[in-house]
Structures are given as structure tokens and as C-alpha cells.
């Protein structure tokens, strides 16, 4: 984690106005991603992990209200003109989506979809773009890329489709690559292959990669750093090895405990369910499910602060850091 900061969020917020009130999906996220690192973002569904990154890309419904700051090497994205956003999307920040079948246009040939991505940002002929697209398909391990480029998404298997998505995402050598649950829809064996490709691509290009997932195993395998999100806020962040060894925030502890491990008979799920984001609990949103909650948790919202090598947003982080999991 030596590279310079590429993507930087400050007090980033996303709110969805609805008939019944505002849903506060993301409530003040600070975050830096550096060139050459893979940041894992974990959390339950509804924790705001995907919404944060869709929001900074401007890919949420028009009604979504986005506040705070999100910069890519100094370029502010919040409130940016559509011209700037167009230059950022696909060129400087690229995305990989969860379900590659529905994320690829079913009526366009694979090759053309990649060509479109290239030609949106580079003034090259269709022919040149196509040969680049075929080269990219080869790079992500698709056999016979020349023939495959002429096929349609439904002729590809799930893993192959996700490779296509990756090829498309790296077509313009983006500075930031956001992978939103890239392996969730895939078989376990295929998952491993896709992660391997992601890792290889990343080490070759030195892009900053954000890997959004609810699968802690995936993060452990490829990420350098990991951050846990809960109820639209970052609750803990640190190096993968350190954080997995000494989770500090009760939520992260709970997540790790709910992970099946050899030698533990019983999984311990976190009791309760994520809060209603229309009216989140006061103070720390996790307190209603937290076994260690005290009065202060309801009164003040904890902020992310350094605890040893990591950061955690918990009033009792110092005491809880030592709690052994096993």
C-alpha cells in the first residue's frame, strides 16, 4: 500500500427520497484507495457497500441525492457535469457487475460491446478497436477470442461472461476498477478462476481495485486491505491479515464468527437483521444487535479511529480488541 491515493471519498452520503421518507443508504463514508492495492469492502446486503460506488459513478436512479466528495486523482465527481462523468466512466473508473448475464446487452455481439467501450474514449477505427477487443478477450483467458467476439452473451457460460465483463472493464486501462460482487453469481471453481484473473490484471496494471463482496473468504484470498460496512457507514478497516486475526468492531467479529471454519462445530450468526434505513437507530447503528452495547452507544455516533494498526468505529474498541474468537 505504497502507491498514491487514486480514489478518495470524504463524508460521502447517498439518500433516496421515497413516499414514506428518506432512506439514508450511505451516511458519511471516508475512504482512500491507492494505486496497486485491492481494497475489499464487506457487509450484509443493504449495508450501503454497492450504493456507495454506484453513487460515485452516477449510476443510481436520478432521484438519489448524493452529497459529500468523491475524487479520482483530484477530479471531483459529486455534482460533476455529464461531460466530466462521461470521461470518468469507463476510462478512469470502470465497473464489473454481479450478474454478467443481465449486465451484458443480450442483442449485441460480445466484440461490439467491448468495441463500444473503447471507441467511447479513443478515436480509433472500429477495426482497430475490434482487434484490441479480441486481444483483451485473449488476455482474460477466453479461448478462440476471434470467433467468440462474434457471439452473443447467451452463448457464453457464467464464468466466461464474467471474463468478458473484466475484459470490457480493463479495455481503457482504468485507474480505478470497481468489482461489485463479481463472483457471487458463479460456481465455486469458477469463482477461483475469476479472482485469479482479477488479481493478475491488477498486478499488471497497478490499478486501484475495489472488491465489493459479502464473502469474507473472497476478501481473505485477494484483498490487501478490507473495510467492513454497516448501515451506510464504515465500521472497521485494516490490513486483511491483521483484521482477520484481531477483529475489533463487534460487527466484524460477528461476521467472522458466522464464517464456517474447520474445527468449529457451530456457526454463530449475528442475531437480528439490518436496521431500517429510513429511521436508523441513534448513535451506533449496530448497538441494537451488539452484545457489548453500553449507554454511550445510543447517544453518540462512534467515528473511525486508529486502534493499533487498524481503524474501528466503536466506543469500546480498546477493550474489545483483545477478545479472542476461538
Amino acid at each position: 500500500m505504497s502507491g498514491e491515493v487514486v480514489l478518495s471519498l470524504r463524508d460521502f452520503r447517498v439518500t433516496f427520497p421515497t413516499l414514506f421518507g428518506d432512506v439514508q443508504a450511505v451516511r458519511g463514508v471516508d475512504l482512500d484507495v491507492r494505486a496497486g492495492e485491492i481494497l475489499g469492502v464487506v457487509g450484509e446486503s443493504g449495508s450501503g457497500k454497492s450504493v456507495t460506488f454506484l453513487g460515485l459513478m452516477g449510476l443510481l436512479p436520478k432521484s438519489a441525492r448524493i452529497e459529500g466528495s468523491a475524487t479520482v486523482r483530484g477530479t471531483e465527481l459529486v455534482g460533476a457535469s455529464s461531460k466530466i462523468m462521461r470521461e470518468v466512466r469507463g476510462k478512469r473508473v470502470a465497473m464489473i457487475f454481479q450478474d454478467p448475464l443481465s449486465a451484458l446487452n443480450p442483442t449485441h455481439r460480445i466484440g461490439n460491446q467491448i468495441v463500444e467501450m473503447i471507441r467511447a474514449h479513443h478515436k480509433v477505427s472500429t477495426k482497430a478497436a475490434m482487434s484490441r477487443a479480441i486481444e483483451l478477450l485473449g488476455q482474460v483467458g477466453i479461448p478462440q477470442p476471434t470467433d467468440r467476439a462474434r457471439q452473443y452473451p447467451h452463448e457464453f457460460s457464467g464464468g466466461m461472461r464474467q471474463r468478458v465483463m473484466i475484459a470490457m472493464a480493463i479495455a481503457n486501462e482504468p485507474e480505478v476498477l470497481i468489482a461489485d460482487e463479481p463472483t457471487t453469481a458463479l460456481d465455486v471453481t469458477v469463482q477461483a478462476q475469476i479472482l485469479e484473473i482479477l488479481q493478475r490484471i491488477q498486478s499488471e496494471s497497478q490499478a486501484a481495485v475495489v472488491l465489493i463482496t459479502h464473502d469474507l473468504g473472497v476478501v481473505a484470498r485477494v484483498a490487501d486491505r478490507v473495510q467492513g460496512m454497516y448501515a451506510g457507514r464504515v465500521v472497521e478497516r485494516g490490513n486483511v491479515d491483521a483484521l482477520y486475526a484481531h477483529p475489533t468492531h463487534p460487527y466484524t467479529q460477528g461476521l467472522l464468527q458466522s464464517l464456517p471454519t474447520v474445527g468449529r462445530d457451530r456457526l454463530q450468526p449475528i442475531p437480528g437483521s439490518p436496521p431500517n434505513m429510513m429511521d436508523p437507530p441513534s448513535g451506533c447503528a449496530f448497538r441494537v444487535r451488539c452484545p457489548h452495547a453500553v449507554e454511550r452507544c445510543a447517544e453518540e455516533m462512534p467515528v473511525l479511529r486508529p486502534i493499533g494498526d487498524q481503524e474501528a468505529a466503536c466506543w469500546r474498541a480498546d477493550e474489545l480488541r483483545g477478545v479472542s474468537l476461538r
Binding site: L54, F97, S102, Y152
Partner: protein
């Protein structure tokens, strides 16, 4: 692909024969051509009746129907059509003129209706949920719930009858292709006579296609590949045209081809009210007289049209949607 089209074509011919045979039997039973003939020619001798049965293939029993059908079919394809019962007139010239009139009315209103309907559907789908959406949607619902004769009656009442009362002359003619006594071609008069019938048919088509297009486009706009398209950094215009509109139109093409029956149905009713001498008027006239020799070519022609359009629907869908194209 070619095999798929060929297979559909091979299906179409037996379908045409089976359906027209069923129609033949239905009309033989339903209109009883011999009885109609006897009603018109009450003093026909037994020999003449027998001759009429022979030339028209009006045999009884299932075997008789089959024999009669093929006899009729042979005459039909060789343009040796039996004469109408009422007035013993040649059927083909009248049928041809009616077909031309219907084609003109149908083409103009279908093209206008589909263009307006699709445009309106896109206009609404791009901003769903607002006042614009709900008012267009309600208007479409009212139009769908209004049978063509009702809108025709109201239009006639306003533009012909009451316009005449208020301003001394009616604004638009309400019947026929030309005023009585007109000879030869006159474009202005023809257009004037077509305005009201075209309006009636267009209202129906616009209502249906606005809703189709709105639903289809909304579904596409909510799909995930639209998000991918936006994430590529291409212009919003290109996102809409290349990704959204293109995909939204695919199911509509199919519906358009199948809908031909509904459009023709609306035409029949509209023609009747405006005394427009088209195929609808032709059919209803023949139906009232129980005129089998006039009805059978009509039914054959319509079955052919319906089958051909079904075929076009299947094939166009296969051509446009790659998932179907290679899936079969």
C-alpha cells in the same frame, strides 16, 4: 436460420389448407349456399338446381365437403370464381376494388398510428410516474375502451351534423370514398373522405402501441445492461438509441405482426359506419345476403393474411433477437 424459416413455411401451407377447409365447412353450414340460391331463384327447375350443385361443388356429407372444398379451391386458384348469388355478379372485380380501398385506408392509418403510438410511448417511458405518464396512460385507456363505432358516431355528430347546424356546411364528409356521382380520381376529395375513418382507426392503434412501447421500454430501462451501458461513458443519447430503443422495439415488431387481425377488425367496423367501400363493407354485405361465393374468397384471403403475418412475426423475432435465433 434458413432451416427455421423453411420449417415455418412448410407449416404454413397445411395450416392454410386446414383452416380454410374448416372455414369452408363453417360457411357451408352457416350460410347454406343452396338455400340462398333457392331464395333468389325461386323458380329454378330441378335440373337447374342439380347443375348449380355440380358447378359449385355443393355436395353433402363430410366426403362431399372435402370434394366440394377442393373443387372450390381449384376454381379459386385458377381465378374461375363462382358468381355471387345475389345478382349473379362477378366476385373478383368487386373484391379487388374493395381490397384496394381497404389497403389504402389500412396502410395510412397503421403507419400513422404506429408512428404516433411509438413516439408517445417513448415520450412517456422516459419520465414515468409523473402527471405526463398518468394522463397519457388514462387517455390510452379511454381510447382502448372506446369501440371504433362510438368514436365514429361522435366524430360524425360533431364534424358533420352539428358543424352543419352551427356553420352552415359540414366540415368533413362522413361516407364513401367520393361524393355520389364523382367520376375519376381526385386526391383532395379522397383525402377529405379519409380523414374521419383514418382518425377513428388511428386512435385505436395509437392507444395500443403507446402502452406496448411504454411497457417494453420501461422494462429495458430497468434492466442491468442499461447500467453497464452508462458505466461505459458513452453519451446518454447513444445509451437510449443503441441499447434501450433497439431492444425495446424487438417485442413490438412481433406484436405488430400479430396485431394485424385487431387492426383489420377495427377497419371492418370503421368501414361499415363510414360506408367506405372496402373489404369490411364487402364482407358484411355478403354476410347479410348469405352470399357464399362472396364470403369464401374473403375468408381465404384473410386466413392467408393472418398466417403470413404470423410467419413474419416468428421470423422477424428470430432475426432481431439473437437469443431466439440460435436457440432453436
Amino acid at each position: 436460420m434458413l432451416r427455421f424459416v423453411l420449417r415455418r413455411l412448410l407449416w404454413a401451407l397445411p395450416m392454410l389448407l386446414i383452416v380454410t377447409f374448416l372455414v369452408y365447412v363453417a360457411l357451408r353450414v352457416g350460410t347454406d349456399p343452396l338455400a340462398s340460391y333457392l331464395r333468389v331463384n325461386q323458380r329454378a327447375s330441378a335440373k337447374k338446381i342439380q347443375q348449380y350443385i355440380e358447378t359449385n361443388g355443393l355436395y353433402e356429407g363430410f366426403g362431399g365437403y372435402v370434394r366440394g372444398y377442393f373443387q372450390w379451391l381449384k376454381g379459386f386458384v385458377t381465378f374461375d370464381w363462382p358468381r355471387s348469388i345475389k345478382g349473379s355478379r362477378e366476385v373478383w372485380p368487386e373484391f379487388r376494388d374493395a381490397m384496394m380501398n381497404t389497403l389504402r385506408l389500412g396502410l395510412v392509418s397503421t403507419v400513422l398510428g404506429i408512428i404516433i403510438g411509438l413516439a408517445l410511448g417513448v415520450y412517456v417511458a422516459l419520465k414515468p410516474g409523473g402527471l405526463r405518464d398518468s394522463s397519457v396512460n388514462t387517455a390510452a385507456f379511454v381510447a382502448i375502451s372506446t369501440p371504433p363505432y362510438v368514436s365514429a358516431l361522435i366524430l360524425q355528430l360533431v364534424f358533420a351534423v352539428y358543424w352543419n347546424r352551427w356553420f352552415g356546411s359540414s366540415l368533413l364528409p362522413t361516407s364513401g370514398v367520393y361524393p355520389p356521382g364523382q367520376r375519376g380520381f381526385d386526391l383532395v376529395l379522397m383525402i377529405k373522405h379519409m380523414i374521419l375513418p383514418v382518425t377513428v382507426v388511428v386512435i385505436q392503434i395509437v392507444a395500443v402501441y403507446t402502452r406496448y412501447m411504454r411497457a417494453s421500454l420501461l422494462e429495458v430501462l430497468n434492466s442491468e445492461y442499461m447500467r453497464t451501458a452508462r458505466s461505459k461513458g458513452i453519451t446518454e443519447r447513444r445509451v437510449l438509441v443503441r441499447h434501450a430503443l433497439r431492444n425495446a422495439l424487438i417485442p413490438i415488431v412481433t406484436v405488430a405482426a400479430i396485431d394485424i387481425g385487431a387492426i383489420l377488425g377495427g377497419l371492418i367496423i370503421t368501414e361499415r359506419i363510414f360506408s367506405y367501400p372496402g373489404l369490411g363493407d364487402f364482407f358484411l354485405g355478403a354476410y347479410d345476403n348469405g352470399d357464399f361465393p362472396q364470403m369464401m374468397p374473403w375468408m381465404f384471403f384473410f386466413t392467408l393474411v393472418v398466417i403470413v403475418f404470423n410467419l413474419i412475426a416468428d421470423v422477424s423475432y428470430a432475426v432481431l433477437d439473437p437469443r431466439i435465433r440460435l436457440g432453436r
